[in-house]
């Protein structure tokens, strides 16, 4: 078991290290890619094996060691926790990573060998970090890998570092997630100060025992949630995700659709036992999740860039998951996480295939590709249907569960909002679908189908996206076995009308899109013009970006300018002033050395008088 674990966690790390440090390997390009793929494959196999083991005996297992002692026996311990939450996630992560890496071989074929090697080194680093994050048995270790995941994301978004936009997006992503991570750091410190431990199990124990409670618990959980907001792109920290699409598309599929962005949800799922103890925080989680789901869906309505549409969609779907976790429907949220990973990765890979073929991201510059790229089109369709929640595809089951849980949990308002968002989702994704594949623009006539290294992963993910719904039951079972929460078990299907409603809303959205963009039954441009102020608001992303920019300018640039100036010209000015005064007064003092012999004799008299005065009064 430990061997499998070591293989699982170590293989990507080792491949990253080899690719990173051994220059000849890195420069070998394609060979490096296959080395990395081999490593991830072994990881994936190990993960599957672990899953089998877990299914055989479903109880949590953990290993740990002292990582950083700090006096008097206190220490930071690192370890691995394998339970119903982490094991499936490990499989998911390694699986998607594998698919994406294979896909990238062709997608990135045009890169120089060195760059390709670097690309795979980053991938290995990311995968290793993500696996470490998932397997972590304590908050600090989570944070440790959490940040490394962020680094991987930064590096991969900025992979084309000569492109200023890519670098800008990478930096923005890093800063924004870092902002959330500050919350994470606070949160785990608060929890630590309340309980004296970082380990999840021990935190739960002390929380249940009442040792960890009150403000420390609330603040701690809230802090962790802040971290989750950053990574999982929850409003208003979602701003980095659409920009992150500047990176290579497989990266978007892996990191910004399937794995890293899900880390926040995963973390919140992980601390469900704590979350349930602080309903206020849970409420915030729920509300922000719903808000995110709705707002992001509206933003996706007006985007033209296919990847941005998918990115907003991701944000929106993450909102669903977060809402589920906030409503204590951990299993539902996790289920949606899984299915979303499949279909969103699929969508991204399909989009990548499109971009690879037509060299543009703008959906309105594409068109009529259904004929030229049938396989890609089919995959995109599968993904879209799953996203829109059309039964029996995976998205339907998981979204359904979330909606049901919300209804059951009495969150009527949230429920309504998410149903609305489901409709919008169906609309925007099919808007893209129809424009790309059946749109009138025929400018991309030279496009043709992608090679098999790209289509095969897409095909595999399509199968997962179609059949992923079957995972619902086992996921409930696993999570039920691992996480004790009031409502983490299987959902009682008391509200049978919910799926019907959701499906109809989804179909309605598809229909509207079909009417507008395929049948031209109405002219979307007209509506766009008519709703110009709203569109503008949406195009500017509710001005959240501008707010951040303003904050950056004032709080960082202006403050920095002020402080820097103050330091150089006031504080240092005082130092220079003192120096100058000494220097000048020393210069003035020279005047007493007139060089005339009798002036010197005055000194005797003055010295005598001074001493006499001292003698009288001293």
């Amino acid at each position: 078991m430990t061997a499998a674990l070591a293989l699982l966690l170590g293989a990507p790390a080792a491949s990253a290290a080899i690719l990173g440090l051994v220059l000849p390997v890195r420069r070998s390009g394609r060979k490096a890619a296959w080395l990395s793929i081999a490593a991830v494959s072994s990881s994936f196999v190990a993960a599957l094996w672990l899953l089998r083991q877990f299914i055989a005996s479903p109880e949590p297992r953990s290993w740990e060691f002292v990582w950083a002692p700090f006096g008097d026996g206190a220490a930071i311990r690192f370890g691995v926790l394998l339970d119903g939450l982490s094991v499936p996630m490990l499989v998911l992560v390694s699986g998607v990573a594998l698919a994406v890496q294979i896909y990238s071989v062709s997608y990135m074929a045009a890169e120089r060998p060195t760059a390709l090697g670097r690309y795979y080194a980053y991938h290995g680093l990311f995968t290793a970090a993500m696996l470490g994050l998932v397997a972590a048995h304590n908050t600090l270790q989570s944070y440790f890998f959490w940040e490394l995941v962020g680094l991987g994301s930064y590096l991969l978004i900025g992979f084309w570092h000569q492109k200023p936009e890519a670098v800008r997006a990478a930096t923005k992503a890093f800063w924004t997630t870092r902002l959330g991570d500050v919350g994470f750091a606070f949160g785990l410190i608060f929890l630590w100060s309340g309980s004296g431990t970082f380990v999840f199990e021990e935190l739960f124990d002390s929380a249940n025992a009442g040792r960890l409670s009150g403000s420390m618990l609330s603040l701690g959980v809230a802090g962790l949630f802040l971290g989750a907001m950053g990574k999982s792109a929850q409003f208003p920290l979602h701003v980095w995700l659409p920009d992150a699409m500047e990176g290579p598309t497989p990266v978007s599929a892996l990191i910004h659709a399937a794995t890293m962005v899900a880390a926040g949800v995963y973390l919140m799922a992980r601390i469900t036992p704590l979350l349930t103890l602080v309903p206020a925080v849970a409420g915030i989680v729920l509300s922000l999740g719903v808000l995110t789901a709705l707002l992001a869906a509206t933003l996706a309505l007006v985007a033209r860039d296919v990847k941005r549409i998918l990115a907003y969609s991701t944000v929106s779907q993450l909102g669903y998951m977060m809402a589920a976790v906030g409503a204590s429907a951990t299993a539902a949220g996790f289920f949606h996480l899984t299915t979303h990973a499949f279909f969103k990765a699929l969508l991204f890979l399909a989009a990548g295939s499109l971009i690879h073929a037509v060299h543009t991201n703008d959906i309105f510059e594409m068109g009529g590709l259904w004929k030229r790229m049938p396989l890609t089109g089919a995959c995109f369709l599968v993904g879209s249907l799953a996203l829109a929640g059309v039964p029996p595809l995976s998205g339907f089951w998981s979204k359904d569960e979330i909606l049901i849980s919300l209804w059951e949990g009495g969150h009527r308002f949230a429920f309504a909002a998410l149903v609305l968002a489901a409709g919008l989702t169906a609309f925007y994704v099919f808007r893209a679908f129809f424009v790309i594949f059946f749109g009138g623009n025929a400018g991309s006539m030279k496009a043709h189908e992608a090679p098999s290294t790209m289509t095969l992963p897409m095909a595999a993910l399509s199968l997962a996206a179609i059949g992923g719904g079957a995972l619902g039951e086992p996921i409930h079972a696993w999570i039920g076995a691992s996480i004790s929460g009031p409502r983490s078990g299987a959902v009682e299907h008391g509200a049978d009308w919910v799926p019907v409603l959701a499906t109809s809303v989804g179909l309605l959205g598809i229909a509207v899109a079909w009417l507008g963009y395929s049948r031209r039954a109405y002219r979307p441009e007209v509506w766009r013009a008519r709703l110009a102020p709203v569109v503008r608001l949406l195009e500017r992303g509710y001005y959240v970006d501008d707010a951040f920019l303003a904050g950056y300018r004032v709080l960082y640039l202006d403050l920095g300018r002020m402080v820097g100036w103050f330091d150089r010209y006031v504080i240092d000015g005082c130092v220079n002033l003192a120096t100058w005064v000494t220097w000048q007064s020393a210069g003035r003092l020279r005047a007493i050395q007139t060089g005339r012999p009798q002036d010197a004799l005055y000194a005797i008299a003055v010295g005598f008088l001074l001493l006499i005065c001292l003698a009288w009064w001293g």
Partner: protein
């Protein structure tokens, strides 16, 4: 047989300096070989000591002692404990890499290596001294060679004369290397004036209590200094050593000095010498005067968080890359000081660990920055861009250093920073945590901004074919970057011995 490990380590650079005098200035290969040779023993010794240090027994080990001025209680007493051991290792590493980073220096190498060796002797001496007078002596020795290093091998820049005291700037030629060198030296020696007075206070009072005057640290530890001695002494040590550690508002020597200094000078100075200030506060202030330290910890900590935030924010304004690094040092030294002010086990461990981490990190930074300057003749970030395309190696290491400085896990900076955070929150003044974390956030902003401005984006034609690292230039970044990684992944390498020292120190505060 007892091997005088510490003397070997201490005298090696000194003897190396002496040997350098014998080598003719034209034999450049031999000069470098001698310099490098003098850097090997300290490194070997520190590794040996790290391996042989008995973490269970703790305390001062490898003691060497003989009397120098018995009537005044001055002796040549050397020893290391868990706290100083790491710093000795740091010094050895930085010395070695400072030499390799200057490998291709083509201007008066002989003198350069000589002064560098003197500087390192001073630094090592402080870390291994068990006698306070010896401590002070080495401290003063460590301050001075930097002056020569800067005025001969440094570089100047323009600082526009502005502000309320702008008229003084032109008169003092602010920005010139002479200015930077003099400011650094005098500022630090002014600090030593404070230290001196504090030291003598302890000597006088200790002599009164013990019956005979002594500068022995161990003996003085047993003296319960009365408040009217301990309070001023602590403050004197704090300000005196603090100047070297860059405490606000006495930090302004650091940007000017480090910006003017040559690579190896900045490496040793920012990398090790500033630690020496912090170490002084820790040893003389916190260890010898626990009561006063506990009383004034709030000042130390509050100033430290000012340092953290102020340094980080001020760094944001700098466009000169050396100033940027210097301000980041000011900010990071704040973490060191904050860690000790917390008076908690994690805080103190983090403080010492941060000394090492920051030493390595800033050494790496200064190496790279100076190499950039050396290769492209530019220091202003506004004029840079796209260097990563021509210098992927340097870019990589710069990013590594930057990530360590912003506290990315997996690199040494994280361990230190996090331990300090834990300490801050569990200290008597938990609010320190918030500005400290804010500082870390701002660090992320300016570091990533610098990375972006220097290395990323389209290549600028003006710089043509600037070269990446080559030959010996690789050694420094690889060693330092590797250490950052190693310590970040396996912090126990040092923490095992540090925690023993910390525990002993805390025992003086009543557990």
């Amino acid at each position: 047989m007892i091997i005088p490990w510490l003397s070997i380590a201490l005298l090696s650079p000194f003897v190396g300096g002496g040997l350098l005098l014998l080598v003719p200035a034209r034999a450049r290969g031999a000069l470098r070989a001698v310099a490098l040779g003098s850097a090997i023993p300290p490194l070997v010794v520190s590794l040996v000591l790290l391996a042989r240090y008995d973490t269970v027994a703790g305390g001062f080990q490898f003691v060497e002692s003989f009397s120098v001025v018995p009537s005044l209680g001055i002796a040549y007493r050397l020893a290391v404990d868990g706290l100083s051991l790491s710093l000795v290792l740091l010094t050895a590493v930085i010395y070695l890499t400072a030499i390799t980073t200057t490998w291709y220096l083509a201007e008066r190498e002989k003198e350069f290596f000589l002064f560098l060796a003197l500087l390192v002797t001073g630094v090592l001496g402080v870390f291994v001294s068990l006698d306070l007078f010896l401590f002070f002596l080495f401290y003063e020795l460590a301050v001075l060679p930097m002056y020569v290093l800067i005025v001969v091998w440094g570089s100047s820049m323009e600082v526009p004369a502005r502000g309320p005291f702008g008229w003084t700037y032109r008169a003092l030629r602010v920005g010139g290397k002479e200015y930077g060198a003099m400011k650094l030296t005098l500022y630090l020696l002014a600090g030593s004036a404070f230290i001196l007075v504090g030291l003598f206070l302890l000597w006088v009072e200790g002599g009164r209590t013990l019956g005979q005057p002594t500068f022995d640290l161990v003996a003085l530890r047993d003296v319960a200094f009365p408040h009217e001695i301990a309070r001023p002494a602590f403050l004197l040590f704090y300000v005196g050593f603090g100047i070297l550690a860059g405490i606000w508002p006495f930090h302004t020597w650091s940007p000017d000095g480090h910006a003017s200094a040559p690579a190896a000078g900045s490496m040793v100075h920012a990398g090790v010498l500033m630690k020496l200030g912090a170490y002084g506060v820790l040893r003389l202030g916190f260890e010898l005067l626990p009561a006063a330290a506990a009383e004034f910890a709030w000042i130390v900590g509050t100033v430290a968080v000012i340092n953290i935030v102020y340094g980080a924010v001020a760094a944001g304004w700098q466009s000169d890359i050396k100033y940027l690094i210097a301000y980041s040092s000011v900010s990071h030294m704040g973490l060191v000081m904050l860690g000790m002010a917390t008076l908690t086990a994690p805080g103190l461990s983090g403080s010492v660990f941060q000394m090492v981490a920051h030493g390595i990190m800033t050494g790496l930074f200064f190496t790279l920055v100076n190499l950039v300057y050396h290769k492209a003749r530019v220091r202003d970030m506004k004029e840079m861009g796209g260097f990563a395309q021509r210098q992927p190696g340097m870019g990589t290491f710069f990013v590594v250093a930057g990530l360590s400085s912003l506290g990315l896990p997996g690199l040494a900076g994280f361990v230190a920073e996090f331990l300090v955070f834990l300490g801050a929150w569990s200290s008597a003044h938990p609010w320190w945590l918030f500005p400290a974390v804010f500082g870390a956030l701002v660090t992320a902003i300016y570091v990533m901004r610098a990375v972006r401005r220097i290395y990323f984006g389209p290549a600028i034609q003006r710089f043509g074919e600037i070269k990446d690292l080559h030959g010996m230039e690789w050694v420094t970044p690889i060693v330092l970057g590797g250490l950052l990684l190693l310590l970040g992944v396996y912090p126990r390498l040092l923490l095992d011995s540090i925690q023993g020292g910390v525990a002993e120190l805390l025992a003086r505060y009543g557990g």
